[in-house]
Amino acid sequence: MKILVAVKRVIDYAVKIRVKPDKSGVETNNVKMSMNPFCEIALEEALRIRESGNASEVVIVSMGGAQCTDALRTGLAMGADRAIHVSTDQYLHPLSVSKLLKSLVAIENPGLLLLGKQAIDDDCNQTGQMVAGLLKWPQGTFASKVVLDKAKSTATVEREVDGGLETLCLDLPAVITSDLRLNQPRYATLPNIMKAKSKVIKKVTPEELNVEIKPDIEIVEVNEPPKRKSGVKVSSVDELIDKLKNEARVL
């Protein structure tokens, strides 16, 4: 069975982000980028499934400009077998990503599609669900545990939901999105980094996949959250009541 993992290159989780002066987005120039943490976890799960003998190949895919190959190289260094780069300079919203993934699934025929639950730049949390809908595949999102049954061709997924943990059994092929506690990703070891240099990254375009990228969402404005106001010392109970009534309006 093949596993297809989608990974996204995002601003590093530890970076302090700044909004561009023209409010069109977040500053990405000269800012450290790395693989989305949830995508890392998804890839780690795929590698573990392969190592346990339940899959034969792990293929990773990333979509966007030329720099996507950085994330793909990281993925290959972690141990993925080969990579696909869907090359486009257009902004990709989750629906477009889902349509592209659907086309790739038709070509690659994986038994499992693994993604991170959301990207830390847009926090959409939509791609996994949308692509499952387009493919009419079962989905197990926010997975904190995945157990495959090769014989029965099912996956048992424990999901983190508001009320606790929900356990689902999905028929394969299926879509699973990873949550934080699924696993702890491995480091990229030097021997693997060296091996990754000779692994293949195949480039395709949306046209070749017969997908038209039509943005139906326009980002109007990006603003920083309001700065936290400093605290004020009050000098008497009367002043406190006055402020609670007239400023905070809670009385």
Binding site: K32, M35, Y187, A188, T189, I193, M194
Partner: protein, 545 residues
């Protein structure tokens, strides 16, 4: 008559039995009494001597009774010039300020002053100088040689309230700030402007720039950005007699006269108090790569260093090493830390910082390939994001904390020729056998070893096997007994292992010139016998200069 009261402690380090060979804190029962409540007579009962078994040799340290004892008039005067808020006699605050980070050195100061500006510092020192009151300048109190805490009842002058950033030129990268600014806060401030501090050390969350300059701190990025002696462009200092000397230049080049700031850098508070610093800060480059590597033996570590300097060249920004004992200790005592590699004899942490991501990655990959082919590198991992990078650094920076948790620690900071650097670790292991764990780690890129000996409790027999052997060995191999930590109280009498007597005599003359009453950080830095000798000579014959 000496009054010795055993300080009751539940600290497991200090055992329970009384005896001649026990290392324990001997402190006054009176020192914690609030000054207003106690009478002056009680003040006089301050212990006049303390056994310093943890210092460089078991000798008795006597309080220099030519220093005055604090009086109620003194307190009133300080309150008048500084305001009540800056004059602290609170027990809890004092008990923290009297003990160093390693909890090895404890003073019995009754007074902590927190001036808010240079003028207040000047008034304090002028008064203390006229009253013969001894003074200990204190910043973040993170020093490792007992230089930042009182030995007896010296007045603590803290720079913590002087923490303003005065100015930053974002073309030249020159930062001017007050001495009490915390290093990490300065670095965050600079990060927003695209710059960074030229030094980085484990204590960055607490240490203050004034203290860093007074101790000429080294740290993790020394191999790339060099010494504070190169990066500090100017200082404002207050001399022991209260004179304010403004040397706060912001020029890269200024060859006009003697470079006096160099005297203050590394002087450990013995010549005056640094109140402002102007420092050159490098650009914060975006391409940072960190690799955690494994080597089979120390020889491979050395070869790796040479290889890194050759192949990585200008982008190398840190080269640290640690041995397997250090790794084991960190894994045992720190939470949430995991070894990124299978167990190995030595680990090396290499960081590169450059302006071009792909260029640096290429260099690194060629360096790794080459080193692996030559067999000097047995395994390694590269951090793929900032979280992984900080987890690698946590291993290296966490060793000191792990040592504190493990029990008693004898800490040595040596500069040695790189071929011999690890030999002292091996020799120490042979000498101590089963009685102690010996760890070696440090700034291999600068030839600086942090030799640490860990035992469950402090033990005289262990101590006697360590000193003076470690100093003699270092001296024999023409190394320094203190690469970056300084002399403080711990090594106040050991300077002769690394400096000639002519040089040390000259240092004593300089001390006598700046601080004739000897009130600044007494008992530390230079040998006491020499300083008292110089004082005698000066009073008989007048100053030599």
């Amino acid at each position: 008559m000496e009054e010795e009261t055993l300080y009751a402690t539940s600290n497991p380090l200090y055992g329970g039995s009384l005896g001649k060979n026990i290392n324990c804190w001997r402190s006054l029962s009176t020192c914690t009494a609030k000054l207003q409540e106690s009478s002056v007579a009680k003040l006089q009962g301050i212990q006049s001597s303390q056994r310093r078994l943890l210092g460089s040799s078991a000798y008795e340290l006597h309080r220099n009774d030519s220093f005055s004892k604090l009086s109620l008039e003194d307190i009133d005067y300080f309150k008048k010039i500084l305001g009540e808020k800056s004059v602290i006699q609170d027990e809890d605050v004092l008990s923290t300020a009297n003990v160093d980070w390693m909890r090895k050195y404890k003073g019995s100061s009754q007074l902590l002053l927190k001036p808010r500006n240079t003028n207040e510092v000047s008034k304090i020192l002028k008064y203390c100088n006229s009253r013969y009151l001894a003074v200990v300048p204190q910043g973040g109190n993170t020093g490792l040689v007992g230089g930042s805490v009182p030995v007896f009842d010296e007045v603590i002058v803290s720079t913590s309230s002087m923490n303003n950033i005065i100015g930053f030129d974002n073309v030249s990268g020159i930062l001017v700030c007050e001495a009490g600014c915390i290093l990490e806060k300065l670095d965050s401030f600079l990060a927003e402007k695209g710059f960074m501090m030229p030094l980085d050390l484990g204590a960055k969350g607490s240490c203050q720039i004034g203290g860093n300059v007074s101790t000429n701190a080294g740290g993790l990025r020394f191999v790339r950005y060099g010494s504070l002696r190169g990066n500090v462009l100017g200082l404002e200092v207050v001399l022991p007699n209260g004179t304010i000397v403004d040397m706060l230049g912001t020029l890269r080049k200024d060859n006009t006269g003697y470079d006096l700031k160099q005297l203050f850098i590394g002087s450990e508070g013995s010549l005056g108090i640094i109140t402002k610093v102007s420092i050159l800060t490098p650009l914060r480059l975006s391409s940072i790569n960190l690799a955690f590597l494994a080597c089979n033996d120390y020889l491979s570590c050395q070869k790796l260093l040479l290889e890194a300097k050759t192949k990585l060249g200008e982008v190398l920004s840190a080269f640290e090493f640690l041995d397997c004992e250090s790794m084991e200790l960190v894994l045992s005592y720190l939470d949430g830390v995991r070894n990124p590699l299978p167990p190995s004899n030595f680990y090396v942490l290499i960081e590169t910082t450059g302006s071009n991501e792909s260029h640096d990655k290429e260099k690194l990959e060629s360096f790794f390939l080459h080193s692996m082919e030559r067999g000097i590198l047995s395994d390694g991992v590269m951090a793929q994001d900032m979280n992984q990078a900080s987890s690698f650094w946590q291993i290296r920076e966490g060793i000191a904390e792990a040592l504190m948790k493990a029990g008693a620690v004898y800490k040595y900071d040596l500069s040695l020729p790189i071929e011999n650097l690890y030999k002292i670790v091996e020799e120490m292991r042979k000498r101590l056998g089963e009685s102690a764990k010996v760890l070696g780690y440090g700034h291999l890129g600068d030839g600086n070893l942090h030799l640490n000996i860990s035992t469950p409790v402090y033990d005289d027999t262990v101590f006697e096997l360590i000193e003076p052997f470690v100093y003699e060995w270092t001296s024999k191999h023409r190394g320094s007994i203190s690469a970056e930590h300084g002399l403080g109280l711990m090594k106040a009498n050991e300077i002769h292992y690394s400096k000639s007597s002519e040089a040390v005599h000259l240092m004593a003359s300089i001390k006598g010139l700046f601080d004739p009453n000897g009130i600044m950080n007494p008992y530390k830095f230079l040998p006491r016998s020499l300083l008292s000798q110089h004082k005698e000579d000066a009073s008989l014959h007048g100053p030599e200069i």
